[in-house]
């Protein structure tokens, strides 16, 4: 038995009231602010929610803080794609009758660090023994480490990676809430401050504060809500390794391939059916890996696909594939666990409500990464019932 496409719908969706540098709100309240906005979006109160999922913070903390009495909880916390995976688990739970209405929350004071739990690596963990002694300084020095091997394997130049941010900035220009909206050039990217060669500042995500929340219920209940329902058509998830040094193939993510294939097969779609695509971009190489691992492009070809303008605003023709239409983690916002914001943009596109609306879009694929190629979740959604 697999998930029945279209049987569950997103009926409530919202981001936190503000995004950006927010020193006057805690991480927990960012979750709650987004959750209250999502409930207001679809006319629900906490008493109407009977399932809750969240990451990093325990669902226990959120349930009590929001005054929710859940019959189902999910604390899957595998990084920024946790929310895609929550969608999958929520669909299964609702379909199985374990609960009726699930709230998924994200909040993160990534920049201001207000009310943020202490994070750290122990010296006797695998990472502490076999990676930390060599001086990695977080994701900019680890998520990026496979890229030189990719570039050499396929003979791709770094300008193809730099271009990802240039194209996404064009999309960000449509969004009043995007952090960075002014156009940039490849020279701007290649002349920005060196962070970890070959990665420069404008190839790395920004770091901001914010939150987001989703509310899911059975599709047959969706018509009783004021919002346009967004139907979940297929979902996939996987994990590979928490050690970037141990990923199987430095030119491809196994977790991406497994999650993506599972979601596409579940939805019964082909790549030609996809009108809109989100690929979590903590760094500029991720859309390249994602396009290839999801099967939109052949190996080594995604940089050229983007270079040729197929993912940019105004692209036409059979190859047109609007990608990261909020500007992505490189331009829109990135709190640390960005996956929720990718989901929000997919929902906006399916509702016909994105400031960068893709005309006539009926099917969106939202693909997330967790950790550093450690985990993945893929959600296929549509504004048409199954």
């Amino acid at each position: 038995m697999t998930y029945k496409p279209g049987s569950i719908a997103i009926v409530g969706a919202a981001e936190s009231t503000d995004l950006g540098k927010l020193p006057d709100i805690s991480q927990l309240q960012l979750h709650a602010d987004a959750a209250l906005n999502a409930m207001a979006d679809c006319g629900l109160r906490p008493a109407d929610i009977d399932g809750i999922a969240t990451a990093r913070e325990a669902p226990t903390e959120l349930a009590h803080y929001l005054g929710i009495v859940p019959k189902w909880v999910d604390g899957t916390s595998v990084g920024g794609c946790s929310f895609m995976i929550h969608v999958r688990h929520a669909c299964a739970a609702i379909e199985a009758g374990l609960c009726n209405t699930v709230l998924i929350t994200h909040g993160e004071s990534g920049r201001s660090q207000i009310g943020r739990p202490v994070q750290g690596v122990g010296p006797s963990t695998q990472e502490g023994q076999f990676q930390m002694p060599y001086g990695p300084l977080g994701p900019p020095t680890m998520f990026t480490i496979p890229v030189l091997r990719y570039l050499k394997t396929y003979g791709v130049g770094i300008e193809k990676v730099a271009n990802v941010g240039v194209v996404q900035r064009k999309w960000a220009g449509f969004h009043p809430r995007a952090s960075f909206r002014d156009p940039i050039t490849i020279d701007d990217v290649l002349n920005s401050r060196m962070i970890a060669w070959p990665f420069r500042l404008l190839m790395c995500c920004l770091v901001t504060d914010g939150g987001g929340a989703l509310i899911l219920t059975r599709a047959d209940r969706a018509s009783s809500f004021p919002t346009k329902p967004v139907y979940i058509q297929g979902i996939g998830e996987s994990v590979e390794t928490s050690l970037i040094s141990q990923m199987e193939d430095f030119t491809s993510s196994r977790a991406f391939r497994v999650a993506g294939r599972t979601a596409f097969e579940n939805a019964g779609i082909t790549h030609r059916d996809v009108d809109h695509l989100m690929i979590y971009d903590a760094f500029a190489h991720l859309p390249i890996y994602g396009l290839e691992d999801l099967g939109f492009c052949g190996r080594g070809e995604a940089g050229d696909f983007i270079w040729d303008g197929n993912t940019a605003p105004g692209a036409t023709g059979s190859n047109a594939l609007p990608l990261n239409t909020n500007g992505g983690g490189l331009s829109y916002m990135h709190s640390g666990m960005y996956g929720m914001y990718a989901l929000q943009e997919s929902v906006r596109q399916m509702r016909g409500a994105s400031p960068a609306q893709v005309e006539g879009a009926e099917l969106s694929v939202c693909h997330g990464v967790g950790g550093m190629f450690a985990a993945s979740g893929t959600v296929v959604m549509s504004n048409r019932p199954a």
């Binding site: 006797s124 023994q129 076999f130 060599y134 060196m194 970890a196």
Partner: protein
């Protein structure tokens, strides 16, 4: 060596043999008894089959530069810019490392260049495996 400012690993019972080997200047890997395939990091069973039929063996100490970044931001104990690298061992495993006795530049750090293991003594218990350009 109290002036050592970098991160010092702490072994677990499952990794103790690896760090004991490093202290003796030997790079120890493990091999799955069912498939004959080597694996890393250490664990007392095969990640390929789940079998506990595994053995410890000494690696050749040879390798090749597989991928890397050169970090430009300040890091405790390091003089930036410095490379954080992945070495590919002929035994079939990869590990993170720093490349020593080599300029930390894209020109000097050529992918697939041959490397050999060496060890930096941190204290009486821990010596850290590092890699340097192979002297042939």
């Amino acid at each position: 060596m109290s002036d050592y400012q970098k991160w010092i690993p702490v072994p677990t019972p499952e990794t103790r043999h690896f760090w004991d080997g490093c202290r003796e200047g030997r790079l120890l890997l493990q091999r799955c008894g069912d498939t004959g395939r080597a694996y890393f990091p250490p664990r007392p069973f095969s990640p390929y089959t789940g079998s506990r039929n595994v053995s410890v063996f000494e690696a050749s100490g040879q390798g090749a530069l597989y991928s890397y970044v050169i970090n430009h931001r300040p890091a405790r104990g390091f003089d930036a810019p410095y490379a954080i690298a992945i070495v590919q061992l002929p035994e079939g495993v990869r590990m993170m490392t720093n490349i020593v006795e080599c300029e930390q530049t894209p020109e000097a750090l050529e992918l697939d260049m041959p490397l050999e293991v060496c060890f930096e003594k941190i204290d009486d218990d821990i010596s850290l495996p590092l890699w340097r350009p192979a002297h042939g």
